[in-house]
């Protein structure tokens, strides 16, 4: 059980994260709300990360009965060991479980999550989605009483996400998420708005703005590529100026790899890729793209994406969602824009803006995504198998 009574929290930079939150959580709860509404802040109070780790000022009462396992938004930063098996075993070993029990639990959870084949893999070789899966499986295996999950399914295929939600929703779990379709699996829905608990709201429906495609600027012809084995063979794709193409498919199928091929990071084993104009790419982990001292020095597109309020911030002080927005804005400075999971950690307002800006600027955009609602608004959907 989690009990919060009149909790106020102010970040060290003076921003108020929570404004008098009172809650009682038993069973499974879904936390919704727009970006910056306080969902992540709320979750971090459950295991003391706020204020012990983040500092700042907090008042009010937070009472938690049981051990909390918290998962942050960015799976890339959540993995601490070099092998999947060890990752899942570590919290159990520190929880005092015996080796046989650890081994049994790890294998049972891997089986129930459909990831037995990942157990022996090095964590650095996993795709972003697979990393997210490993982190969730670690939480499930950990034996913790309460799971606090901050947008854990942003990089996962919806079918897999639903399968995992069915597994986690049997426990005491609090999950913050933008995709409201998952809320039906939870006993309770908590809605956050401007640091307060408010009445649940239906977010505005994503308005699909259609564009007028121009000349072909990206041509992928009969491309074969893979790592240890071929990921795709004879893949062909054309993207026109002003067109948005969504690349979808289950985790590890090669969506990010396709973006990297178009960007010229990898060379195809066979076939041709031609790109007219300069390429801007935004990977799932946004911090790779940010290196200046201030956000305003990173990109001139802040206004276009409504990010003026972040201009004076250090890029690495931003939240995951904010950093992602800046990285996306930066990619839009180029003619061909490649976006890896751009809607992860983003509310529907930003998704709508992303579609609108793509149309207005007439960029050729390729989006690797699991967000099927967003994909539906693109001009073409390429499904990798």
């Amino acid at each position: 059980m989690i009990y919060l009574d009149d909790v106020w929290y102010e970040y060290p930079n003076g921003v108020l994260g929570l404004k008098g939150v009172s809650l009682r959580i038993e069973g499974s709860s879904f936390v919704g709300g727009s970006t910056g509404s306080g969902k992540s802040t709320l979750l971090r109070t459950f295991n003391g990360l706020i204020p012990k780790f983040y500092g700042g000022k907090m008042r009010g009462t937070v009472r938690v009965e049981g051990k909390v396992f918290f998962i942050g938004q960015n799976a890339e930063e959540q993995i601490i060991t070099s092998r999947v098996y060890d990752e899942m075993a570590l919290p159990l070993l520190h929880g005092g479980y015996g080796i046989e029990e650890v081994d049994k639990r790890v294998k049972d959870v891997a089986r129930s999550c459909g990831m037995e084949d990942l157990l022996e893999m090095e964590t650095s070789k996993l795709s972003d989605g697979q990393k997210q899966l490993v982190v969730i499986a670690t939480a499930l295996a950990s034996g913790s009483d309460i799971l606090a999950l901050d947008e854990p399914f942003a990089n996962l295929h919806p079918d897999l996400a639903k399968r995992l939600i069915r597994l986690i929703s049997k426990r005491t779990v609090v999950m913050a998420e933008h995709r409201l379709e998952y809320s039906e699996f939870f006993e309770e829905v908590i809605w956050m708005e401007d640091g307060r608990v408010s009445e649940p709201k239906d977010p505005p429906e994503l308005e699909c703005v259609r564009g007028k495609p121009g000349e072909v600027v990206v041509r992928v012809k009969d491309v074969t590529f893979g790592y240890d084995r071929p990921l795709f063979e004879g893949l062909s794709l054309e993207v026109r100026r002003g067109e948005i193409v969504a690349v979808v498919g289950r985790n590890g199928v090669g969506k990010t790899t396709l973006l990297k091929l178009i960007a010229g990071i990898y060379r195809p084993w066979d076939g041709e890729i031609s790109v007219k104009g300069r390429v801007g790419i935004s990977l799932a982990f946004p911090n790779y793209h940010l290196f200046e001292k201030e956000v305003r020095r990173e990109t001139k597109m802040l206004e276009v994406f409504g990010l003026e309020s972040l201009a004076s911030r250090h890029p690495h002080s931003l939240s995951f969602g904010e950093a992602k927005r800046v990285a996306i804005a930066k990619a839009f400075e180029r003619d061909v824009v490649l976006l890896d999971e751009p809607t992860a950690g983003q509310d529907s307002e930003f998704k709508a803006r992303l579609l609108r800006v793509s149309r207005e600027l007439g960029r050729a955009v390729v989006v690797a995504t699991h967000d099927l609602e967003f994909a539906e608004c693109c001009d073409e959907i390429v499904k990798l198998r």
Partner: protein, 210 residues
Amino acid sequence: MRSLNYANGFEARTCITSSLILTLSVYSFRIDVALLVIALTLVASPRKTLRFLSITLPFTIPFVLAAFLLGGVRKIPTVFALICVGSLLIGIQPERFGYALMYFRIPPRFAYSISIAVRMFHVLVEDTRRIVELLRTEKLGRFEFVSRLLKSLSAIAVLRAISMAEVLYSRGIDLDRRVIVCERPKLRDYALLLSSISILLYTCLTRSGL
């Protein structure tokens, strides 16, 4: 203490012990001992040893040249032997390394610190590779390329350290808790250990003239 299901490779305690023993032997600065050590590591893990030797070439080539020009040719096999011994440690998974240190009664906090540092090194190597990949798409001049790489990498290193600390805290990892999980030594582990001891004995006995 029982074993967890580990991937292939030498068991961590064996690697650490053998490395220490072989290092002691190498410091006799004898060519025959150095050659024996190089041969042993090449037999034990040929791919890893050769890879490590090739990685360290930018350092070893100037050393070899300097040794020929300024003297100290006899030290060359010793340096290569030490690099080969290092290759035994390089391939150990950071967690296994930490557990093995705790087995040898090293204080847990110190063992975890080393384990995490090694893990962070691996993560940063991966980060460097990805940043370089991204920067190559931008057609930058050499100076700007290096400058951007350093800027990105230093920022990412700080972020990684913070997120690692946050995750350790979040998962309730107690850095003072001694967790010993080691693989059962296999025949090849015993063979490596016995070979290392044999080389040390050979070094001691032939040096003392027995």
